[in-house]
Point group: C2
Chain length 365, copies 2
């Protein structure tokens, strides 16, 4: 099977680029001597998890309990569920853990900490620290940190943070500064809790941009990152990786040719409505267009509009290739996590247009 034979729209995954991205982050973390706990929220694929875990301790990060269940069913049991848990979700965590998983939860909430502590220590918990993103987490100066630790008791094993605000960084220097905030906040929290007598074995931080640009990771016991595996236009724009390292594209067919434009069958569902590059140096609309070979035969053409199943590509005068209805194109996504989530499989290529594998991916909750 070749790319030209695939039904559209569908996800194409370039294994060479995937492996380059995996090796790059593993190399960076290896130099920092910090193990990777890959975040599988983007890839959601056991095949990709196995590749990224080579040479690593074996634990992963997930964003939903459905992911936890999926990966545990495939034998990956050391799982950090890195979205604040609710008391009502603890029964499912306990059940999955009783069946062989080892899911660690996070919290920043006293009543949730109490609910966690009701369970035996097989439900391990980390305190979520806010290192400046102002999403979830406790500020390191708050007394709440100590209160949470006391309430969690024997279930407490560590602290974690996520510098999601690294996505707002617009230079390598700025992202490096945010990486240092991420590191220093969570390390300080760990030191504070240790000084108060708590056993803190896990000091976890991470995001793809800070993983790439951190100057030091001293004090961290693990690092989490996910989107870097596949990459996307937004991450390329903020210099997490090169644009030609984006391993994920949406294969699409031209379905119409109104004047000066192309209609394609990748619309808002196949691409997502994420407009992440609206605020980056280059605004790629709903995605940047390549030909089926992965080359820019249509110049700087982007998907300008996205209806449910129609994408509209604006053409400029430099457009060279013939594009009859049925022509297949590839769209680089703004945001891999959201684009991939509409699809149930990756069609894998590896240096040619031959599809060498089909990897399922899970979605939903």
């Amino acid at each position: 099977m070749r790319l030209a034979d695939l039904p559209t729209p569908c996800l194409v995954l370039d294994r060479q680029k995937l492996m380059r991205n995996i090796r790059s982050m593993a190399g960076i973390l290896g130099r920092h001597n910090v193990p990777l706990r890959p975040h599988m929220k983007t890839a959601k694929s056991i095949d990709i998890a196995r590749l990224v875990l080579a040479g690593q301790p074996g634990g992963i990060t997930v964003s939903t309990l459905a992911e936890a269940e999926y990966f545990a069913s495939h034998g990956i049991v050391d799982i950090l569920y890195a979205v604040g848990v609710t008391p009502g979700k603890l029964d499912l965590v306990a059940k999955l853990n009783a069946n062989g998983a080892g899911i660690t939860v996070i919290t920043d909430d006293p009543l949730t900490a109490d609910a966690i502590a009701v369970h035996p220590a097989e439900i391990k918990a980390l305190i979520e620290i806010d290192c400046g993103e102002q999403r979830g987490g406790v500020l390191v100066a708050e007394d709440l940190i100590s209160e949470l630790a006391d309430r969690l008791g024997a279930n407490l094993v560590g602290v974690m943070t996520h510098a999601g605000h690294s996505y707002q960084g617009r230079s390598v220097a700025e992202i490096a500064q945010i990486a240092e905030l991420e590191r220093s906040h969570v390390v300080y929290a760990a030191q504070r809790l240790r000084a108060e007598g708590h056993a803190i074995s896990i000091v976890s931080a991470g995001s793809s941009p800070t993983g790439r640009h951190a100057e030091t990771m001293t004090g961290l016991t693990e690092f989490r990152a996910g989107v870097y595996m596949l990459g996307d236009l937004f991450q390329a724009e903020i210099e997490t990786h090169a644009r030609d390292s984006i391993a994920l594209t949406v294969l699409t067919s031209v379905i119409g040719r109104p004047s000066g434009r192309l209609l394609v069958d990748a619309g808002a569902l196949a691409l997502s409505k994420d407009r992440g590059t609206e605020s980056t140096p280059n605004d790629f609309g709903f995605g940047l267009v390549q030909d089926i070979r992965g080359e820019y035969a249509l110049g700087d053409a982007i998907v300008r509009k996205a209806y449910q199943e129609h994408g509209v590509i604006e053409l400029d005068t430099a457009n060279a290739i013939e594009t009859p209805v049925g022509t297949k194109l590839r769209i680089l996504p703004n945001h891999a996590c959201l684009t991939a989530a509409a699809h149930d499989r990756y069609y894998v290529i590896d240096g040619s247009d031959e599809v060498v594998a089909v990897w399922p991916r899970m979605n939903g909750w």
Copy 2:
């Protein structure tokens, strides 16, 4: 099972509102004496299709061949695939039709018309007319209409159009004008082709806003609409229905309570990143917040930010209800088609908080 017992995030469907919306559109079309060919691209559920087809001829509209295959497998065989087909998709259409489906395709492209005409007439085709949206379709004044009809030959059975620009209407009067453009363009195209000797039995138009506000449908043989069944904030803002007729909400749990805000477990995946209400009188961010009973106990609170699995609700001083972590809330979506597409089932309620049914929905391609 009650709403409070459901895992979050998930889709909640209010059957009373669904039925009210279905009856409302059926009543309007009944007064116009035009049958409904419901567009199932929003609901993607055989259970909803059966409800909406009561008293109608039985044909449906779909936006993907995966939908066509799904509905045909459930016995609904008269299917209009209302996105421009490509030559490469015709083999699948022919195969599904040979297995009992009756899929009609649309085109505005001469070479695709030739490819359709290669197939025996069991692949019926409509010529797509552009009534002003400037997405797909032929303009009624173009000679291309006649050329397409000639090329399609015996496969040609009619014409269709979609006034997607009705979504840009910002008053009932404006939408009524667009409805008349939709009707008059496609009726004119039919008359022109009939005058040229073609047998045109299908004159198909439709969108939810124009269905609601058209003053006449004279000359149409069928009307297509879909999103009105579930409704959403965007459609409510452009007066396709009342806000309290939105049948679809995302049930979510509070997962954190930073100062002045709530974090919930419905983020960009569970809600979509559609920002359709950005340009309407009320900007609802990523959705409007209700309590679990469907009331506005949090005032005008909206989901202001949407990360992959985190939604951020901004609170104002009027927020009355207690919201500990674990509190369940419901989010009215901007755009039902995109929000629903992340979910694989509807949890159906009918006048109380009891879940009376679970209806699967299909997704993907």
